[in-house]
Symmetry: C2
Subunit: 785 residues, 2 copies
Amino acid sequence: MSPEPYFPVEPWCVREPSVELDRLGHTESIFALANGHLGLRGNLDEGEPYALPGTYLNSFYELRPLPYAEAGYGYPESGQTIVNVTNGKVMRLLVDDEPFDPRYGELCAHERVLDLRSGTLSRSVDWVSPAGQRVRIRTVRLVSFTQRSIAAIRYEVEPIDEPARLILQSELVANEDQPSIGDDPRVAAVLASPLQAEEHHHSVHSALLVHVTRRSGLRIAAGMDHVIESTERIAVTTESHPDWARTTITCEMRPGQVLRVVKFLGYGWSSQRSRPALRDQVHAALAAARFTGWDGLVAAQREYLDRFWDNADVHIDGDPELQQAARFALFHVLQSGARAERRPIAAKGLTGTGYDGHTFWDSEMFALPVLTYTLPAAAGEVLRWRHATVDLARERAQVLGLRGAAFPWRTIRGHECSGYWPASTAAFHVSVGVADATLRYYHATGDEAFMREAGVELLVETARLWRSLGHHDRHGRFHLDGVTGPDEYSALGDDNVYTNLMAARNLAAAASLAPRYPEVMARLGVDDEEAATWRDAAATMYVPFDDDLGVHPQHESFTRYQEFDFAAIDPEDYPLLLHVPYFQLYRTQVVKQADLVLAMHWRGDGFTAEQKARNFAYYEARTVRDSSLSAATQAVVAAEVGHLDLAHDYLAEAALVDLRDVHRNTRDGIHIGAAAGTWLALVAGFGGLRDHDGRLAFAPRLPSRIDRIEFSIRWRGLRLRVTVSPDEATYTLRDGGTDVQLELTHHGEAIVVRVGQPVSRPIPPLPPAGPTPHQPPGRAPLRRA
Amino acid sequence: MSPEPYFPVEPWCVREPSVELDRLGHTESIFALANGHLGLRGNLDEGEPYALPGTYLNSFYELRPLPYAEAGYGYPESGQTIVNVTNGKVMRLLVDDEPFDPRYGELCAHERVLDLRSGTLSRSVDWVSPAGQRVRIRTVRLVSFTQRSIAAIRYEVEPIDEPARLILQSELVANEDQPSIGDDPRVAAVLASPLQAEEHHHSVHSALLVHVTRRSGLRIAAGMDHVIESTERIAVTTESHPDWARTTITCEMRPGQVLRVVKFLGYGWSSQRSRPALRDQVHAALAAARFTGWDGLVAAQREYLDRFWDNADVHIDGDPELQQAARFALFHVLQSGARAERRPIAAKGLTGTGYDGHTFWDSEMFALPVLTYTLPAAAGEVLRWRHATVDLARERAQVLGLRGAAFPWRTIRGHECSGYWPASTAAFHVSVGVADATLRYYHATGDEAFMREAGVELLVETARLWRSLGHHDRHGRFHLDGVTGPDEYSALGDDNVYTNLMAARNLAAAASLAPRYPEVMARLGVDDEEAATWRDAAATMYVPFDDDLGVHPQHESFTRYQEFDFAAIDPEDYPLLLHVPYFQLYRTQVVKQADLVLAMHWRGDGFTAEQKARNFAYYEARTVRDSSLSAATQAVVAAEVGHLDLAHDYLAEAALVDLRDVHRNTRDGIHIGAAAGTWLALVAGFGGLRDHDGRLAFAPRLPSRIDRIEFSIRWRGLRLRVTVSPDEATYTLRDGGTDVQLELTHHGEAIVVRVGQPVSRPIPPLPPAGPTPHQPPGRAPLRRA
């Protein structure tokens, strides 16, 4: 859990001073660029070597069969897998006929820099070919936040010592070879060559390929265009074929002369639009990009990010590595959702093929809270995507014998794509996540149009789900039996505390909204009697408690289960799911990821302070953090119960999960949930932000090694900046008129903040922390203090 | 649940007066012949039409991949599937060059008779060819109980009105076309042509084929030989090829002349023996059969069955259809295990490919109790097979993080072959079944050699399993959490009452045997401390009880769960598992098959009479009997709690499950568990046999429509015959010397029975029956009274 740092610490950059080829999988993900619509892995410009070549379009997927050794009613028959689409990153250089390849010749220098403020990936190479010809190469790559279909690459090459003949081959390549995926030959067959060529065109310096997927029937057009600068004579030719196109640029340069090529890449896809429409759409996008030009794209990118960071940055004094990691994490959250526009945020964003490119519950419970408070429009778009799938969720509920909408555990397009129902179908909390994110977005923005068009329906259909999923026992308590909570080392428990408390909030909110949206309620067929059943279910929701131990069981009986035998586990046996059968994990007291502790974060209003302290210590001793989602939540609650340095440790673990490749799987893509959790750990942890029922509350408090943090949140068109020092917190309101005021609480004290009138309050002394928490052997986080 | 009768009622035969070709799947199973080693489906002699051609050798299987949409640690990678081996049943007849085929020409008569006393399948056909040539065909088929590698067919044909040229083609055919199995093309590919030819031979009237399976590497030799009787000139030729061999017999017959051919079939297989060894083995078996001759085989078959029925028959007065069905059922139980000889009893015996030919827990809990009391040596052989797999079961336990032996949910060779662990791996009760059958066999036979060589180890390793599977809670109660009981509509429950009570018996028995087998215990590494932990776990085993309702929950919390909404279920939606997701079945109060009620049968000593009555009524209302294993157990307990006519109804349902094709799947093979349950329902139900801790107890009592039953059980070399009339029961002891006596109880009264001194006792009046049971809507059994 404590791999060594790899990247030097810098506040606004991630720099790789020299390339390590056996680490390409890691760096391809770290250096991935995306805008929520289009994503390019940080593959080397020349295409190889690579760990995983990757170009992704949000929601562009192929269907694949889901096989079962023993079938069952309601099992999904096919899954959806993100497709590596036409690769336009490839720019091969030949120097006097020798291909530039970092594996050959002498690599005198090779640096890559991801700049979090400019939103570009730069590369600087100094290479001597096997024949002794030395060249300097500089490339800059961006995926535009302002022109969402566009990526661009500026490629510069110059000879150093001698004149050289330079040939640059700029390509579009469909159906690239991919490393083997899994052991099912049928799946491999489907995904090995997913794109069927439909048409291809080229001009002298541009080309365009159109393909369609075999089974899902999605059409994609990818085009490239080039602007070439050179003082010398240049020959340019382009050819196109069904699966590839190539622009070849040939020239001879002397030392000091630079060949500079800007490559614009345009992408478009659709499940409905015709070939001509899509072809024209990409052509138009390329024309616009060319019109804007390289410098214009770079400037717009910078401007977009300046605005973003002004809203979203968390400034940290005292832990520079954490500062860098927090910004890197937030940058990737932005990249995953900025321009998703009614498409989901996948668990790996658009940075890799991990989890088949699926979106999970952490979209709503990790990424969306961050976006809601930093880039609210993007959060709204993702929720509108969820709403666009509500018919599928209603169908799924019906298959399951339930009412309302049961959102899928994992999906791209909205259909359930999981082949193991105890960990998926039964994990109904994905639907409380949808409801909670909807409420949060509504409270933070007051977006009534959203509520009328999407939000109310999401809350109503999820409330209906809980009402039909649960039932009253003979004593009138409402139960949700046989469900799987967030912790994936338990399954099919009765009365999972997280699910029950969150569902109760969902039910109560839906009922309380009924009088405010009579037209929507009428359209959805909600009457007063139905709303009353929601109020009743919320009021009588059962929450188990272990009186002997004075802690909440994660679900009924959990604390009565056998203790997991940690002593029998080798340090190499983590993650446990690869070495212990589900059978044993489910029936013993071992926790993969925060579950009861997650409930204490998002439904902290359902616990006393003493319960929180005791619960936290209890679950600390049983939580192994085999999920990257866990550490951030543990940080939030550790901070609340007074274990501030432990919170700092967990925060750092979440923040560094990809930079340090903590789980050794960053090659599959960036952990967007953990990245978002980093912001949450800072803002909800050390900032103490809570937003129960739409009321802003802060309880800021710093750990010993952090001197100051400063963060902002957006709230109904305002920006609230919170500056926290060891002794004091200052609340500053921006953007509103002088008559605007914001009510919030600081450590329980109600205060009012007005624009231009910062309010400072002392940090109260730390009350006695609860029991000292201990982690399972070997599972303590790396100490930072 | 109440299909019409198909076969006329006769006491010792199952007769099909005329063939219904769309019912071939059903009759192929009904008329299957087997001896526990070799099984032939009741396919028509001429090979087609067929529903499923089938020739099976016990434990001859092929491996097939088990695919998973999402893999998990400990999932079995490959399954085992029974193989349709070389078919020697085929005897094609041509009459004046026209093939005899029931689909062509005119079928004037076609009768098939399974004779339960002679152990033969006879067929009598009167057919007019499309050209108008009339012939009579009579065939008799047997699978020898006395020569286990041998089957034989006598084929007789005679022209009726005109002379005819008759050509009989007698064949061996490997890799027959099979109907499609499932929707996984890879599995179909593996099993479409499972046998690789190794060698083939022939003489004038015999042939032999040797094959080996591709993946499992099992070798099979199949041979045929013929004895031909005819008064006229006959031409005989034989040819052989890698996948088939054919003996052609040609003659011309006049009316009144009969061509009579006896075909001997010999089979042998091995995972180890060489090609020559196997070839010679089959040749020797055929030589022996030819030496015995057709008449000798028929006579030996009859003698074997006379002895069996003398031990095993249950005579029933008052319900002739039930009498027939009970004998038919018992005959198929015999066929499944008579000569298994250290091989398992599959759920479908050797009558079809249902469940891939796997053996399940019902082998030990249904088939073995019957065999233990009727053919104890056969029961011992099956238990020795289990013992032969104990190393695999130990390995499986280790993979699961447990000690002892975890026997597989479904297997042929001993490896776990299930692809859905919540219903398989977690169903640890398969191991209590092994232990219970071991104890029963030991008590009934006193077979000390078996105990030393196998039985003690089975009891010790299962006791170790329970000890490591369970744990004490903070109050000292011992729990088995997260296990699946017999009811497949629940899974992963805590403290399944059946499993807990049976495991407690297992633990206590293992502990109590320790002092009696010190050498075995030393070899197994059992010391006094370990045995003490078993005693303790047995003594503190937790059994949940619902005080409010005064009933036992099937597992913890079951009676608190939501009631299943039977009103929402269409009668066509049974079995529910095909129309309702597991998710809903597991978390609601719906029961596929007796589970708590099964506990009340086999661990009736763990319940009071009042509890039994209340429990029975409670579970009756929630049990849908989607498993054929359920009705028999419900009959046993219904009889005990005084609902005798209901017991009669359930008994009939179990007995008729295949004759009437109640579950519409008899085409896949005979339900051996239900067949065995028929005997149990009679003997443990109306006879009231209980054998807790090796003490014989009877509590006979008849339902209103049955006038008398008479059954026998074997007990330590003795035979006890029990004759029950409405008012009186008589116990008669046979086989022992006059000094031998047997202690038992009759309705709780201890009595002693001596050879030659029958004891009669009155049946006490029926105490008030408990609450009147009601079944879910539409799920009441067909009434017989």
